[in-house]
């Protein structure tokens, strides 16, 4: 069993160099499917005997993508497309793109024509989840994804493989939630950057492997004495809390992240696939129907503010930092409401624009300092 620091280093390395992870899976003769944000049905990939790997952008100079996307498309999609066009993602057998927002709708088409060497598999999640028919519809979308996946493997996925995959993913959710809770007792070791690396690295490992690593992390943490943290505690919300420079600024100001509502992190882990309810595909569809509080999924009443207030309460946070992905309209529509809800409940909020193409963090540093003084 590797020790705590070794495991953390392993996860951090995977985040720094996902390409190495991809290459190592390819070298093992595995097929790898790129999974665009967010809620890509990784279970289907896993059950088809392939490795799902998350594609969440990254810092790069935009050149080729400029012939496809206007400057006001979000940086995640800009860099995903750049990586596709410039060959960084070479080796992927396909990508799955969930058309959850207007930019993602268009990305399905840009990819199809721009990166024909890597087939594009679209999935369109139902948004009217109050309609019982949404379940049947989503099952049929999953079935289309499966048909396309089977052309890559030459094999059909079995029901047993799917049920096993669901178990693997539920177990992973569980272990990540356990980690997140335990991390708050060890904020000296689990700094914002480290916490992020543990969460994000899940996209670059087969989930059973990641579960095993995080389990070891957990037992390593349990051997440490509880650390009494004297700084300020916040919750992060948004699509991603990146890059590390931003998280370092939090640490510099003795701000800890004690919970998150990030699409790249806890949003995906907070809802399990139900154990009952039918076959695997139906159960996955039921999981989609119980997801909650996300800007990408239609819900009545704008419940995100209330949810963030409870997250703050449960984790002893005194404020929320909104990591607003630049040009992300679904998030921008939510912002005024959850901010107002948080302020009404007595919590502070700070909105930071997330742009992985950014190179200067001075302005953000000043704003975080001012926020810290308010907390």
């Amino acid at each position: 069993m590797a020790d705590l620091q070794t495991n953390l280093a392993l996860l951090e390395a995977a985040c720094r160099n996902p390409r190495a992870q991809l290459d190592s899976y390819l070298a093992q003769g595995k097929k790898v499917i790129g999974c665009f944000p967010a809620y890509t049905p990784e279970e289907l990939v896993y059950a088809s005997g392939m490795i799902p790997m998350g594609l969440w952008g990254g810092h790069t100079e935009l050149k080729l993508a400029k012939s496809y996307l206007p400057a006001f498309a979000c940086p995640i999609m800009q860099s995903n497309l750049e990586f596709g066009l410039n060959g960084t993602y070479k080796g992927l057998s396909a990508v799955i793109i969930p058309a959850l927002c207007d930019t993602l709708r268009c990305m399905t088409q840009n990819w199809r024509f721009g990166v024909p060497s890597i087939p594009m598999i679209p999935i369109v999640y139902p948004q009217n989840r109050k309609s019982p028919a949404s379940v049947e519809y989503l099952i049929s979308e999953y079935e289309s994804v499966l048909v396309m996946l089977s052309t890559i493997t030459g094999q059909m996925m079995s029901e047993k493989a799917l049920c096993d995959a669901i178990d693997v993913y539920n177990a992973h959710n569980d272990v990540i939630r356990e980690f997140a809770a335990l991390a708050n007792d060890h904020l000296d070791v689990i700094t914002p950057k480290v916490r992020h690396a543990v969460m994000k690295s899940a996209f670059f490992f087969s989930k059973d492997q990641h579960t095993a690593i995080v389990k070891e992390l957990i037992s390593g943490l349990k051997q440490l004495p509880v650390y009494s943290f004297t700084g300020k505690k916040v919750i992060l919300t948004g699509i991603t809390g990146e890059p590390d420079e931003l998280l370092d600024i939090l640490a510099e100001n003795e701000i800890a992240v004690v919970g998150d509502d990030l699409a790249q992190e806890m949003r995906q882990y907070r809802t399990d696939t139900p154990e009952k309810g039918g076959g695997g595909l139906r159960r996955l569809a039921l999981q989609w129907n119980s997801r909650h509080g996300c800007s990408l999924i239609h819900e009545d009443g704008k419940p995100r503010g209330t949810m963030l207030v409870s997250l703050c309460k449960e984790n002893g946070a005194s404020g929320v930092m909104n990591c607003l992905m630049k040009f992300c309209d679904p998030e921008e529509y939510d912002q005024p409401f959850f901010e107002a809800d948080l302020v009404a409940a007595g919590y502070h909020t700070l909105t930071i624009e997330v742009d992985t193409q950014n190179t200067s963090y001075e302005q953000i540093r000043t704003r975080v300092q001012a926020f810290c003084e308010m907390l």
């Binding site: 012939s67 496809y68 996307l69 206007p70 006001f72 498309a73 999609m77 058309a99 959850l100 927002c101 207007d102 930019t103 709708r105 268009c106 990305m107 399905t108 088409q109 840009n110 199809r112 024509f113 721009g114 679209p122 369109v124 139902p126 948004q127 009217n128 109050k130 309609s131 019982p132 028919a133 949404s134 049947e136 519809y137 049929s140 979308e141 289309s144 800007s295 239609h298 819900e299 009545d300 009443g301 704008k302 607003l324 040009f327 309209d329 679904p330 921008e332 529509y333 939510d334 912002q335 005024p336 409401f337 901010e339 107002a340």
Partner: protein
């Protein structure tokens, strides 16, 4: 998306010297007023009034006798009359929204905030967009609408009746989409009846459906008459009629209006006249929503080069054909130009370029609208190669006046004209 500006202050400027207003234009002004008036009366009588997305199956509300108003259309009017500024400022300031969002939404969210008593911006129309009691939502146009309506619903504490039409990455509407949408239509009818106390009348629906079909046909016909050379209309004028398809698709008043419009166009054809004020040198298609705050500048610049816009990417968006509820489900999945994949977009545009003899495309990179822009570069490239005609783009916004440069528009157009001229000469020289 959508829209048009249809009232006394119509956005498309008439040619100078002013010709008398066409009867059809007077009719559309009256129809718009009548809709606002019936909304006011309905409110007075304690009836419930709705706000609706522009490509919602309007026939449902019509069958139930519900009055429904259209925020996209209304915001376009405010923008075209250069009244958007205080709305945009309020939205991006006190209301706390990002300036990145769709300007139709920004204008409307401020408007609704005034109706909710939370803002004090003066309403230039005196509040004729009355406070809604319910919302009718479809996402065949875009996803921003879903978010926008979520916000309206919470702000005004009213329900949303939603038909998720699903983005369509395939070249046809999958049967599972049809089943899902059909189930939602059935549910929506039941829920709406319960909420409003109205009852569904099958026979009336069949009648409305017939009217709507007839109107779709007439609308398409009017659009198709633009294929004459020279064209009988200045193309931008058709934008002014779009409101009858957006807001009044299931009404007989629209039939009368479109019959009149068709007759006027036919008369121009018979007499060899056109409302296009100068000689038509070039025929182009226009991709995207009009740039309402600068329509005058757009038109003026086009006219200088004798460019007439004879085809637009969404003139046909409301030409929705079906003859039963299943057909309706399928048609509304496939109606908007935005809910479809790039191949469908390309093939529809290619057909139009050919049919209308277009020599180029002007494509509006609309800062408000990601769904219309984020795949358009590739669509235009392919379209241009397939059709053998050049395209140009310009930066603008359908409602936010801050996102446009007159100089850029002029330069881009100049570039397009140069290529179109070369092409023309090459053609003439065999």
């Amino acid at each position: 998306m959508s829209d048009t500006v249809t009232d006394e202050n119509s956005a498309a400027p008439a040619a100078k010297p002013k010709r008398p207003k066409a009867l059809s234009m007077i009719m559309i002004g009256e129809q718009t007023q009548a809709l606002f008036e019936s909304a006011r009366l309905a409110k007075e009588n304690g009836e419930k009034v709705g706000w609706s997305a522009s490509i919602f199956p309007q026939e449902i509300a019509e069958t139930l006798g519900l009055v429904v108003l259209y925020p996209e259309n209304h915001s376009a009017g405010i923008a075209a009359r250069h009244q958007a500024d205080p709305f945009l400022q309020e939205c991006e300031g006190p209301l706390g929204y990002s300036n990145d969002l769709c300007a139709y939404a920004k204008v409307n969210l401020t408007y609704s905030s005034v109706l909710a008593g939370e803002s004090e911006v003066e309403l230039p129309d005196g509040g004729k967009m009355v406070r809604p009691d319910f919302l009718l939502l479809t996402n065949n146009i875009c996803n921003q609408l879903t978010k926008w309506y979520e916000n309206l619903a919470r702000q005004l504490d009213i329900p949303i009746f939603f038909i998720d039409t699903c983005y369509n990455p395939y070249d046809y509407v999958t049967e599972t989409r049809v089943r899902y949408v059909r189930a939602q239509i059935d549910q929506l009818i039941r829920d709406l009846c319960e909420f409003t106390g109205k009852t569904w009348d099958d026979e009336k629906f069949r009648k409305i459906m017939k009217i709507s079909q007839c109107n779709s046909y007439l609308w398409e016909r009017a659009n198709n008459l633009m294929d004459r050379k020279p064209s009988p209309l200045s193309g931008f004028e058709l934008f002014n009629y779009m409101s009858c398809m957006v807001c009044n698709r299931g009404k007989e008043s629209t039939t009368a209006l479109l019959e009149q419009l068709n007759a006027e166009i036919e008369q121009h054809i018979a007499e060899g006249t056109s409302t296009y004020p100068v000689e038509e040198q070039f025929r182009v298609s226009w991709d995207g929503i009009a740039c309402w705050p600068y329509l005058r500048h757009n038109l003026h610049t086009l006219k200088e080069y004798g460019i007439n816009m004879v085809a637009s990417s969404y003139g046909k968006a409301w030409a929705i054909e079906y003859d039963d509820l299943d057909g309706m489900a399928r048609a509304y999945c496939f109606a908007s130009t935005n809910g479809d994949n790039a191949s469908t977009m390309i093939s529809r545009r290619l057909e139009a370029l050919k049919k209308f003899g277009c020599e180029g495309t002007i494509y509006h990179v609309n800062r408000s609208c990601k769904v219309m822009d984020c795949q358009m570069m590739e669509v235009q490239r392919q379209l241009s190669a397939l059709a053998g005609v050049p395209f140009t783009s310009f930066d603008g916004d359908q409602a936010d006046y801050r996102n446009y440069s007159e100089a850029q528009f002029e330069t881009r157009l100049q570039g397009l004209v140069e290529v179109m001229t070369q092409n023309k000469e090459a053609k003439e020289n065999g």
